[in-house]
């Protein structure tokens, strides 16, 4: 059985050595729920494994490049 979001959050926080109250965890869950559909859409983006490979620095390099 998949653990509930609050339980997952508590485990994740403990792993990161962070603490939050139950109210804050609920608030965080609500914020994540709002973000979730967009995040799922983002995860479905197909980014190339072969050239051209986008890396985290690509966007800032693109801005600075002459076009």
């Amino acid at each position: 059985m998949t653990p509930s979001i609050p339980v997952l959050y508590e485990l994740s926080l403990a792993d990161q050595e962070l603490e939050l109250s139950a109210e804050r965890i609920a608030e965080a869950g609500a914020a994540h729920a709002r973000l979730r559909p967009g995040l799922e859409e983002l995860r479905r983006l197909e980014l190339s494994f072969l050239e051209p490979v986008l890396e985290p620095a690509s966007a800032l390099q693109w801005l600075e490049a002459d076009r």
Binding site: Y9, E19, A31, L35, G38, L42, R43, L45, L47, W62
Partner: protein, 477 residues
């Protein structure tokens, strides 16, 4: 004396107007600084935009500026009073971040942009209120709520709350704000003033408290396009202390203000970005596009590549970088203001893989936006989709529903933090007596085209000259 300086309260003049009056010998920086300080007395009890006034220091600087004008040594901003959002470091002057956590911080070094403003002859008159650490929400429990000069029951937006209110109430002609998801542009729109989030890297972030290092921008908030261009020209350019600052040369923005917009093509944004908008705000936006047409531009529709996915990418980056920067503050979460505590508490749940995916995907959105710019000089969007919300509930009125502020306030803004494109805000009219704005977005490093369009828009409209009732009723609106 004659002309503009004797007909008008000096506090109401724009920076370029003040400089012209100084050059003509019609007034002095000392008189202008005194006028701004008198405006503080008039409106501060109502709006609370100023976190730390610096009267004594400013008047001493104003004396020096007055001398320089007399002796022909005036610099670019000689004698222009300005304020800094209080996340921008100032040597020897407290810089709180709008937070009790840094109430006693006195930096040993100024931010690069603050050094540049001072070297150009500007007069630092005040440190200005901010949402705590640029994300804490309008109810700053350490330094109080900043109120919108157009309606004291409403927010200025944020996070550059004090900068927006102070410039709108003409306490200062110029303020510097910062913008991670709209924090320059939202207060500009809600308070009826001008401002720009330039291309990412155009203005160095050295000495500016960080929220999200790949999304943070700093820039001017003013009362005219000419002033915005003037001040951006002073603060822009590479600084080695900010490795992300751009090495590209800074153009002559003042020259761009003088060019005609005739023949320019502006895309009217369609799609996700404008899906939700109050009908009267939409009507005012359409009227502003018609005015841009009168100014010589051709308006054509363009679909922008933004969606819930680009929004999620933006927030995944902000959350992740915010937690990295503010990790040491996490145990003190309950000492933070409400919105900041909420955002920071949500941050640990963004996976590293999603953060990295978002960083990689932003180049996809950049390239898709670049393709949308084909045949266009700029893209227009509404600056705000609703009028400023009431402070008591911070909900935006879309006409048929009320929604939490963050659900719509950043929708036209944060996509351009993600792509890094420059975005200029222009006052575009009033709805129910409250300001709405027009946003013009440019290609990377093409702020000049935006200034040309903005100045042309201001030649056929007078929205940027409107002042809130607070100023004309002696601070008791």
């Amino acid at each position: 004396m004659s002309s503009v300086a004797t007909r008008t309260d000096l506090a109401d003049l724009a920076a370029t107007e003040l400089l012209a009056a100084y050059a003509a010998g019609e007034t002095t920086p000392v008189e202008a600084t005194q006028a701004c300080l008198a405006r503080f007395e008039q409106v501060e009890p109502a709006i609370n935009a100023v976190l730390l006034p610096l009267a004594e220091r400013a008047l001493a600087q104003a004396e020096e500026s007055t001398r320089r004008w007399r002796t022909g040594e005036a610099r670019t901003l000689e004698g222009v009073p300005y304020g800094l959002k209080d996340i921008i470091a100032t040597e020897g002057v407290p810089t709180t971040g709008g937070s009790a956590l840094y109430r006693e911080l006195v930096p040993a070094e100024s931010a690069a942009l603050a050094e540049r403003l001072e070297a150009a002859g500007g007069i630092l008159l005040a440190k200005l209120q901010t949402f705590e650490f640029a994300c804490g929400g309008p109810d700053n429990r350490t330094f109080g709520i900043v109120r919108n000069p157009w309606d004291l029951a409403r927010t200025t937006g944020g996070s550059s709350s004090g900068s927006g209110a102070a410039v709108a109430a003409a306490e200062l002609p110029v303020a510097i704000g910062t913008d991670t998801g709209g924090s320059i542009r939202i207060p500009c729109a809600y308070c009826g003033i001008n401002g720009i989030k330039a291309t990412f890297g155009r203005v160095p972030r050295h000495g500016v408290m960080g929220l999200s290092w790949t999304m943070d921008h700093a820039g001017p908030m003013t009362r005219s396009t000419a002033d915005t261009a003037l001040v951006l020209g002073v603060v822009a350019g590479r600084d080695e202390r900010d490795p992300t600052s751009s090495s590209k040369p800074v153009p002559d923005y003042a020259a761009a203000v003088e060019r005609p917009a005739t023949g320019m093509r502006v895309g009217r944004a369609t799609g996700w970005i404008v899906e939700r908008m109050h009908p009267e705000v939409a009507a005012t936006y359409e009227a502003s596009l018609a005015a841009l047409g009168e100014a010589g531009a051709t308006i054509v529709d363009v679909e922008l590549p933004f969606s819930a996915a680009s929004d999620a990418a933006s927030w995944a980056i902000i959350f992740s970088e915010m937690l990295s920067l503010h990790r040491a503050h996490f145990p003190k979460l309950e000492e933070r203001d409400a919105m900041g505590a909420m955002l920071l508490s949500a941050a640990p749940f963004v996976h590293a893989s999603d953060y990295l995916l978002a960083l990689r995907a932003r180049n996809v959105f950049q390239q898709e936006l670049e393709a949308a710019f084909e045949g266009l000089d700029a893209v227009a969007t509404p600056a705000n989709l609703t009028i400023a919300p009431l402070l008591e509930d911070m909900h935006c009125d879309l006409g048929d529903e009320l929604v939490p502020w963050l659900e719509v306030a950043t929708r036209t803004q944060v996509p351009f933090n993600l792509t890094g494109n420059p975005a200029l805000i222009l006052p575009a009219g009033l709805v129910d007596g409250l300001p709405v704005g027009l946003q013009l977005v440019g290609r990377p490093h093409d702020e000049s085209t935006l200034f040309t369009l903005g100045a042309a828009f201001e030649r056929v409209t007078d929205h940027h000259r409107r002042r809130p009732p607070l100023v004309s009723t002696g601070g008791s609106a």
